[in-house]
Symmetry: C2
Subunit: 127 residues, 2 copies
Amino acid sequence: MPPTTAARPAFRTFPAPADLPEPLPEPTRADLRLDVVLGALSDPLRIGIVRALLLEAEAFDHTCGWFGLDRPKSTLTHHFRVLREAGLLRQRQYGLERRSQVRVDDLQARFPGLLDLIAAWTPPEAP
Amino acid sequence: MPPTTAARPAFRTFPAPADLPEPLPEPTRADLRLDVVLGALSDPLRIGIVRALLLEAEAFDHTCGWFGLDRPKSTLTHHFRVLREAGLLRQRQYGLERRSQVRVDDLQARFPGLLDLIAAWTPPEAP
């Protein structure tokens, strides 16, 4: 087990429910690339999505509606896809709904400290 | 002083020589933004530049020639500027030469763990 610091926030994860749909296509843990992951996080909205799940998740995974983001659905779908394809989020299709969770174990294993950075991020002041 | 882990690599920094030129324009420590910093690192060449300075610097700052990168000068100038404008590198103009160093203190203060992530990054296999 890697050493942790006293300041390490607790990330909110929940046990997997029964009968989960299969995850949508995503890179394997071994295929995660730091440059791609950082690129996916180069947008405040996208860092904010990952941070909200890390610190405020209330269930195993969440629909994009849960985040309360004031953007068109197609825009949100795009941002969630970027995060999934980079390997930050795992997404599952539940009928018409797509729900997302952070790949906490995979990211901690490959990029220790990354999730702490995201959790410590402060959203910019609203304009 | 923040807690550190046993695995923390030593970053190579050198004392400032006398009569340094002024730094080129850059964001202040308070103005550093994580999303912008991560965006600047979303390119393997740029992560590689910061990593090389962190782990292999041999002097206070280095010209782009020091890195041995096989790219046109104008391309390198662009990549170094992106890193400076995001706040990762400090650059100074020495006559015709521009030299770069990592803003280690500023980045450690604002984004603890970020430099460790960069130092731990493994360059992709050469194609």
